[in-house]
């Protein structure tokens, strides 16, 4: 008979990843930059969001992108055309980014620029509504996208993602006139699993809703690093928070 002996670990299953994520975040804080983890199912509009936001914000903010969802070279070209550094992250066949992959991307980024000069780092995660929610990469804020074409039950089907998000963007609202979908219901479902998160509606095609989205971003930047020495001052902060 063997004599069983036990060790209590009380360790997070993802402890190794969390350790690396904290390490990444220490760097971000040292560089005084805000890191956003952008997540959604494939095709919900992450790259399109980045395209428009980068174009509109590049005059005021120094930014870079870690791209974990490079489906085609076209995506790289779309973002690269804006003159903002984009570092592709190779995920192998992994269905999410983890902190180690992002750390690898950061090393490449640091070869190209001085990260302390950055204000904002965007991480475009792999298109997947499941595990990216559990794998921290060192981000300060999680932004989840849900397009109006995906149906209003997604927040209840993938509740962990929407629970973890700090901000949910309902995307492609330019398509609403053509779809039998109730956008208020989508928003209500998001708030049922995450009553405190900010929910915003926008369209990367028409640009509708980007003012409120960028206002939210400016607020987060101000909270994170205090007032920034900006070329153009921040637009007057008409507070836009979650309703309901």
């Amino acid at each position: 008979m063997h004599m069983p002996l036990q060790d209590n670990l009380g360790l997070n299953l993802l402890a190794a990843n969390e350790q690396q994520a904290s390490h990444n975040r220490e760097h971000f804080d040292q560089w005084r930059l805000l890191c956003l983890n952008i997540m959604s199912s494939p095709g919900a509009g992450k790259t399109s969001l980045l395209e428009r936001s980068l174009a509109q914000l590049s005059g005021d903010l120094a930014m870079a992108v870690l791209e974990g969802d490079m489906t085609t070279q076209l995506d790289a070209d779309r973002l690269g055309a804006l003159g903002i550094p984009v570092v592709p992250i190779t995920t192998g066949r992994c269905c999410h980014l983890d902190a180690g992959m992002v750390s690898g991307g950061l090393k490449l980024l640091c070869q190209r620029l001085d990260p302390a000069k950055l204000d904002l780092l965007w991480v475009e995660n792999v298109g997947n509504l499941v595990c990216p929610a559990e794998f921290e990469v060192g981000e300060h804020l999680k932004v989840a996208l849900l397009s109006v074409t995906e149906g209003d039950d997604k927040p209840l089907k993938y509740p962990v993602m929407f629970r973890e998000a700090d901000c949910v963007l309902i995307t492609k609202i330019d398509l609403l006139p053509y779809l039998p979908v109730d956008v208020d219901r989508i928003e209500a479902h998001i708030h049922q699993v995450n009553p405190r998160c900010t929910v915003l509606r926008l369209s990367a095609s028409s640009g509708e809703g980007f003012k409120a989205w960028h206002q939210w971003l400016w607020q987060q930047l101000a909270k994170h690093q205090g007032p920034l020495p900006l070329a153009n001052p921040m637009p007057s902060p008409a507070l836009t928070t979650a309703q309901g």
Partner: protein, 122 residues
């Protein structure tokens, strides 16, 4: 595929723990996990990919024992606890309040390991 990544992350965490531990670890007979039902982990699939992942490693032969922790919320309307259900949109049955406070169900915890001292460590 998702659970394979999850298992890999679990093995990495155990590996990190092992490195910070006495150099000579007895053979691990079983690993006890607590997995909340409000997480992205499916215990059955984790179990399945575990057996493949530990083959020919220091954990070879170790059993994975998973305890599922149900989701429990607290209604901030009346402070009663309730089991949020997807079919009810996670709202409380008493006040139809959204799911605000989660008491448990988000656990992803390696609780403990049992050593098997009857066989020499690998």
């Amino acid at each position: 595929m998702h659970e394979v990544d999850m298992t890999r992350a679990l093995l990495r965490s155990l590996e990190t723990w092992k490195q910070g531990h006495a150099p000579q670890l007895p053979r691990v007979g079983s690993v006890h996990l607590e997995v909340g039902s409000f997480t992205c982990v499916e215990p059955d699939q984790l179990q399945f990919s575990w057996n493949a992942a530990i083959r020919d490693t220091w954990l070879s032969g170790a059993r994975l024992l998973i305890v599922t922790v149900p989701l429990l919320g607290r209604c901030l309307g009346c402070m009663a606890t309730y089991s949020p259900q997807a079919e009810q949109g996670y709202r409380s049955p008493c006040c139809s309040h959204p799911m605000e406070e989660i008491i448990h169900g988000r656990e992803l915890r390696i609780r403990s390991v049992d050593y098997d001292l009857s066989t020499p460590s690998p």
